[in-house]
């Protein structure tokens, strides 16, 4: 019996050691990148909620990271698929041990990055799309509502059925003001437009997004807008021969015939700026809000089937927003119960936009998912 066990062990040991020897043959270039010399330029890491290939939110942040790598001439680390739960705090804290600046790029990372920021007072933390901050934690975002308004103008101009479907992620202010801006834009060219909101309760769930899009198309909506990160919705628009609007990044190649346009992000400009500030010691934390004006937010190129007059109109309004001549949230604005929220001649401050929790006239759907 003992002999048998011995023979078995020898066989197994042989297999394992030969396998280990085999695996040891891999090249060791990874080791090199690990021991990147600590230089004057800060070590930076990014935290992503999705994968860099999601073709949406994370894809754009990763483009910003690559831009930063190019500008700084050094590797900028990233960790992807970081869930919005307690795991995030561990990952942030682990990164904080050997990085000087950490960018966390999802709303739900907020409380975890705040906790870590207290534990690592020397590290600078920057959080996208949130509202909490501390002495060494700042937040940054852009007025994508400006681009949403412009998208709304284009969508309102091409809709024939006057019914637009908006697939939204979570009923948080970020979605509420984008839906509102989009609706204001659409109704500025066509007062009969109604925007139907469906909550997907996820930032990325292609299967769910697709079935939601199909049901919106079945309801006779001829423009489908998708806030989540996948192109599932605009693909449905392409299949059905209706119009599609994506988010975060240009998605024209997924739906060449259906594509209108959508807000896009250019994070790289901001990333470079804030890293320079931190290096120079002039960074003071707090909130940063970019917009069309400084290029952090922009509009994707129009799809090939968007009529020329529509493009011209959108570009005209874009110039007015950039010049500061026009604020998209200027009164009079009624909420959907008919109550006047913003009087004529007034406008909503950026702070109030960022905490918006009511829908403008023309939006259909519940605000509590």
């Amino acid at each position: 019996m003992i002999k048998k066990i011995f023979i078995k062990s020898v066989i197994c040991a042989g297999i394992i050691s030969s396998a280990l020897a085999l695996t040891g043959c891999g090249d060791s270039k990874d080791d090199m990148s690990l021991v990147a010399a600590k230089s004057d330029s800060p070590d930076i890491a990014f935290l992503y909620i999705g994968t860099v290939g999601d073709e949406g939110w994370t894809y754009e942040h990763n483009r910003g990271r690559l831009y930063l790598e190019e500008k700084l001439g050094k590797k900028v680390d990233f960790v992807e698929n970081v869930p919005e739960n307690a795991d995030a705090e561990r990952i942030i804290s682990q990164l904080a041990q050997d990085h000087d600046i950490i960018f966390a790029t999802s709303f739900g990372h907020m409380d975890y990055i705040l906790n870590s920021s207290k534990r690592f007072p020397k590290v600078k933390f920057l959080h996208a799309a949130g509202y909490k901050s501390s002495t060494n934690m700042g937040n940054y975002f852009g007025k994508n509502w400006e681009a949403s308004y412009l998208t709304g103008i284009a969508a309102g101009s091409v809709s024939k059925t006057n019914k637009i479907g908006y697939l939204a992620s979570f009923p948080i202010p970020q979605l509420v003001y984008n839906i509102n801006a989009f609706t204001l834009g659409a109704r500025s060219v066509n007062e009969d437009i109604e925007v139907n909101v469906i909550w997907n309760n996820s930032w990325y769930d292609p299967a769910n997004e697709r079935s939601a899009a199909i049901s919106m198309a079945d309801e006779g909506m001829d423009v489908l807008v998708s806030y989540p990160d996948s192109p599932a919705t605009i693909k449905v628009a392409q299949e059905r021969g209706i119009w599609g609007v994506g988010n975060s990044t240009s998605m024209a190649h997924y739906a060449p015939d259906a594509y209108i346009t959508n807000p896009v992000w250019n994070w790289g400009v901001y990333y470079e700026k804030v890293v320079e500030e931190i290096k120079a010691g002039t960074w003071e934390g707090g909130s940063y809000l970019g917009g069309l004006k400084d290029g952090m937010v922009d509009l994707a190129e129009f799809g090939k089937n968007v009529p020329e007059p529509v493009k011209a109109l959108v570009n005209k309004e874009k110039k007015r927003i950039i010049s500061g001549e026009f604020n998209i949230f200027s009164g009079p604005i009624k909420d959907r119960d008919g109550l006047e929220r913003v009087g004529s001649g007034e406008k909503i401050s950026d702070e109030d936009v960022l905490t918006m929790n009511w829908f403008v006239e023309g939006v259909k759907g519940s605000l509590s998912n």
Binding site: G24, V79, F170
Partner: protein, 374 residues
């Protein structure tokens, strides 16, 4: 399986009548083989597996912080793993630890919502009780279906997971939503008296001792009590137990309720010790990983301590390796491969290879040699 004839020898695979229990070193070999298997994929991805594994190891154990995080991950895995292991011992396949975990987390949170402002001791005790009861009741549904209606408990417990998770979504999106949370789904953060005490500067909390206590209690109960004797008899031979007059249905109900209750406690310690609020991401798949934990430990309570720490290390280390360019799913792949190899090893060990020399004489086969492999 049809025998193979090579050079006058008949080679066949047959069930080994002697082999009853797989030796412990088989598990170790299976784990190593699983790592080697994953190393192949790392090579394909252009990474040196030695670098990856050492990075994972140092991420999980290399610092005090890493170690405390690994143990932190092990807490819910240990409790859920112990829970499912108890059920698996008597061949009741509870796949519902995930749902029982969620119900435990919900019940514990309900205490913070409906009875705020209690002292630390009473609120923690109540939350623990609520977690256990909720998990146990959720498993009772499975037990009733299995014992009285002969419903397959795998399907039943699995489906209840989805119901529990959707119920959780409903609560955090609607009635329990943090009024100051800008509509983001999730309850308000617990007050300090509702949080389990944690180590200074680390996140490792009292739940670790609770989990170890549960392991110890279970080991003692099984070894020294009448109920434990019944359980052992039932796991050794269900028919013999039935003929001996044991109430098998009742035993299944008790075991499933303990199983679910432990997962419920896991849910409670997770919300009270780690997340400090109820939100959608609370599960992280602990209930499913617990199945791996239980099998890796061969349902042995001490083994569960070790295997839950191992699985915790794989999860914690799995994120560290992203910095050298590996995808996030590598940790999941390693877990899956480990389970695959452990269960594969178990199956193989129940068979043996028999080699017979076929004699030229008519209808006479003499078995000249037998070789067992694994």
């Amino acid at each position: 399986m049809r025998p193979l004839y090579i050079a006058g020898k008949k080679i066949s695979i047959e069930k080994d009548p002697i082999s009853t229990k797989t030796p412990w070193w088989m598990t170790v070999i299976a784990v190593v083989l699983a790592l080697v298997f994953c190393a192949g994929f790392m090579l394909l991805n252009g990474n040196n597996p030695i670098t990856v594994f050492s990075k994972m190891f140092s991420g999980a154990f290399g610092s005090l912080y890493g170690l405390s995080e690994t143990l932190l991950k092990a807490i819910p895995l240990m409790l859920c793993g112990l829970g499912v292991a108890i059920a698996y011992r008597i061949s009741v396949w509870n796949i519902g630890a995930e749902g029982q975990f969620v119900m435990g987390a919900i019940a514990a949170t309900s205490i913070t919502i409906y009875y705020p402002g209690m002292g630390a001791f009473s609120s923690i005790t109540l939350m623990l009780l609520a977690g256990f009861i909720a998990g146990a009741l959720w498993a009772l549904l499975v037990a009733i279906c299995r014992s009285y209606f002969d419903v397959n408990e795998v399907i039943c417990s699995l489906m209840l997971n989805y119901i529990a998770i959707l119920f959780l979504s409903f609560l955090v999106f609607e009635p329990w939503k943090d009024p100051n949370g800008f509509n983001f789904p999730g309850t308000a953060i617990f007050s300090s008296s509702q949080k389990l005490p944690a180590l200074d500067d680390l996140r490792l909390h009292l739940g670790f001792l609770i989990a170890l206590a549960a392991i110890l209690l279970y080991a003692v109960l099984v070894k020294f009590t009448h109920w434990g004797y019944q359980l052992r008899l039932l796991s050794a031979n269900a028919n013999a137990a039935r003929y001996a007059g044991m109430n098998v249905k009742r035993q299944i109900i008790i075991v499933l309720m303990i199983s679910g209750g432990l997962a419920g406690i896991a849910g409670m310690v997770e919300v009270s010790g780690v997340t400090h609020r109820l939100s959608q991401g609370v599960t992280s798949g602990y209930g499913y990983t617990a199945i791996i934990v239980a099998w890796l430990a061969r349902l042995n309570p001490i083994g569960i301590v070790i295997s839950s720490i191992l699985c915790g290390a794989v999860i914690v280390g799995g994120y560290s390796v992203q910095l050298i360019g590996l995808p996030a799913s590598m940790a999941l792949m390693i877990q899956g491969a480990i389970l695959f190899f452990v269960i594969g090893g178990e199956v193989f060990s129940q068979y043996r290879i028999r080699v017979e020399t076929i004699s030229p004489k008519k209808n006479e086969q003499t078995s000249s040699s037998k070789v067992e492999v694994l």
